[in-house]
Every structure is written in structure tokens, then in C-alpha cells.
Symmetry: C2
Subunit: 194 residues, 2 copies
């Protein structure tokens, strides 16, 4: 979704959702969902997968935690975001941030890992089509992050009866309960096979 959806009517958005679903997997229909997953907070203790039919608006998920590692902050930055405030403590101290901070993309990547390891085990995997991101606060070495997720919308596809979209807000929080990343994302989710 992302880019254009904000300026669109719901009808146009739904058409676009369908187009995205169409474009994303033009070669495979029905989708060969392959992963072993289990349901969270739904009184189901088996290793069931989460299908579109299992999601309801307001449903929440909480991930485990990760400690932000200074060496990884620097090595991630050296490869992907080589700016002084991500690379070197001394340079970072002289920067706008006053100290070493993680690249926003490193934060996004760590949050993704937390989600993959969490109970949000969607049949077919965690497949994001796009969304909206913000980084209200810097992520710093030593921070302990976790992700809290909430289901905002559940939208079956009208053209593809085997799938739909779950819009979620994934908020990444530090050890002080401060949001370091807020991502509202559209996830591709299969419907339960008949």
C-alpha cells in the first residue's frame, strides 16, 4: 500500500489492494503456503497457522526482546548506512544525536526479527506489501527493544478468494516504554483452505 493509499478513497484503496495482490503473486494461484505456524492468544495451543479468518480488529501480539548491540550498530551502518552518527562514538557525540544511534533500517530489521520470532505466525510467512513508518526516537546501543502489534483492519480480497490483507500497527518500544519505531503495515495473509 504505502505511497498512494493515503490520498485514496476506500473504494480506490480496495481496488489497489486487489491490484497489489494480483501483481505480487502473478505466477502462483492458489498460493502454496508452506510454513509451520501456531496461533497466539486464541486459546489454541496446537501448531496451527494463522489465516485471515483468525484475525480480528483489536487483536494484539507481543514479541520477545532484543538488546541493541553497539558492534552490530556499527557493522550494519558500515554496510548500509555509513554516516558518522551510526559508525563511531566520537563522531556521533559531535552529531545532532549526541551519541551513537542505530540506523533506522537497522531498527526496522531488528523489529522484523522480533516479529518473525513472535507468536504472529501467519500461514505463508510474514509478507509485507508496504506501509507507513516513523522513528519518533533514536535507537541506542544497550536499548532493549520489543514489538507490540495490533490488528487495525482485516480485508478479504475481492478478486482472489484465497487471500486478503491484515493491516497492523507494529510499535517497537525501548526499555523505557518509548516508541522508537511505529510501522503501520499491510500484510498478505491467506484464507483458511476449504
Amino acid at each position: 500500500m504505502g505511497v498512494a493509499s493515503s490520498f485514496m478513497s476506500t473504494e480506490t484503496q480496495n481496488r489497489r489492494l486487489d491490484m497489489e495482490l494480483e501483481q505480487t503473486f502473478p505466477a502462483s494461484d492458489p498460493i502454496p503456503w508452506i510454513h509451520e505456524l501456531r496461533v497466539h492468544e486464541m486459546s489454541v495451543t496446537t501448531q496451527d497457522k494463522l489465516y485471515l479468518d483468525d484475525f480480528v480488529v483489536g487483536q494484539r501480539f507481543t514479541s520477545g526482546t532484543v538488546v541493541v548491540n553497539a558492534d552490530e550498530v556499527k557493522s550494519f551502518a558500515a554496510r548500509f548506512d555509513p554516516q558518522p552518527f551510526h559508525l563511531d562514538e566520537a563522531a556521533a557525540k559531535r552529531s545532532v544525536f549526541g551519541g551513537l544511534i542505530a540506523s533506522g533500517w537497522h531498527t526496522a530489521a531488528m523489529a522484523m526479527r522480533l516479529l518473525v520470532d513472535s507468536d504472529l505466525r501467519i500461514a505463508g510467512g510474514l509478507i509485507g506489501l508496504g506501509g507507513e513508518m516513523s522513528w519518533p526516537r533514536a535507537t541506542k546501543p544497550g536499548d532493549v527493544l520489543h514489538v507490540e502489534s495490533e490488528v487495525l483492519e482485516v480485508t478479504p480480497s475481492r478478486s482472489k478468494p484465497d487471500r486478503g490483507i491484515v493491516k497492523m500497527r507494529n510499535t517497537t518500544l525501548n526499555q523505557h516504554g518509548e516508541a522508537v519505531q511505529v510501522a503501520v503495515v499491510n500484510m498478505l495473509v491467506p484464507r483458511k483452505p476449504a
Copy 2:
């Protein structure tokens, strides 16, 4: 901006921009911009930095290229997005994607590196506050990516006269000219010192 801005009036958005600017750097005013930068496509050949005053709506930047490496796709995924379609060719072949694809966050990270190495050399660095992302197509090993950027809005802060926001659309394209990522981002940019 991201999350909330799409549903807000321009006035509310501007207030929010100011709030974000305030929150992002509460400890430093004026901002100690520290980097060496140079201006692009503006008939300036010196190593000048790009300030808010240098940006105009419609201005464009083009990055260099990067070849997507299969080993990096897998190692990035092993750390940050360990799902079968990012980790292993055989498993990926059986997935919805029909072959190995890069994590969306790996694509985002590679696009960031292209921007950091490009002529978009903003005084103070490339500091994103948030934005909207989509991945219209999968990124595959062997793809040759580059980023094309366009300035969409230039907004001076009303409360902080030394800074403002440049909204850009950064489109990451593969060797076929297909967009694999579209990011509309709000960048924090300093004003030219008096």
C-alpha cells in the same frame, strides 16, 4: 511523518512536523551539522553541503547502482528475517515467490546505501523522520538496483528557524526499470547558516 499524517489537515501536519522536529533533537539547538557534502545538479562543483534553501520541488537525484548478492540476501535474512523464501533456494522455489528473494528490509537497507553514496548530500546527513513504503515487486539475487529521487515538498519549520523538512520520493528500480521499492520520506534538513 508516516503513521498519522495521511489523515491530517495541512495545518495539523505542519504542527506535527514542528513537534517531530522538536522531539527529534531536544538536546541540541542549534544543530551541530558536521558533514562534508556537495551539491548535485545545481551547477555547483564545490563540496558544498545541501541545505533546505538548496531544495526545490521537482528536483531530481539519481544514485549509482548495486548488484544484489545471493549470499548477502541469505545472511541478512538469517540475522533479521529468517523466512524460507529469503534463506534457501529450494525452500524459496516452493514458496509464493517461486524463488529466492531479498527481505524488504534488505532492499530498504541497500537503497539507503545507494542514497548515502549518491549526490544527495544533505548538510547534517540523511536523517529520515519517517514515511511511506511499498514493495511493488520482489528483489532477487542478480538484480541491479538504483534509486531515483524527486523532491515533493520543502517545508521550513515554524518553531525552529534553523531547520525544516524535505519530503522526497525515493524509487528503487531494478535493471528492467521496475520499481522494487517506493519510499516517500520526510528528511530533516538544516537551513543555511546566516
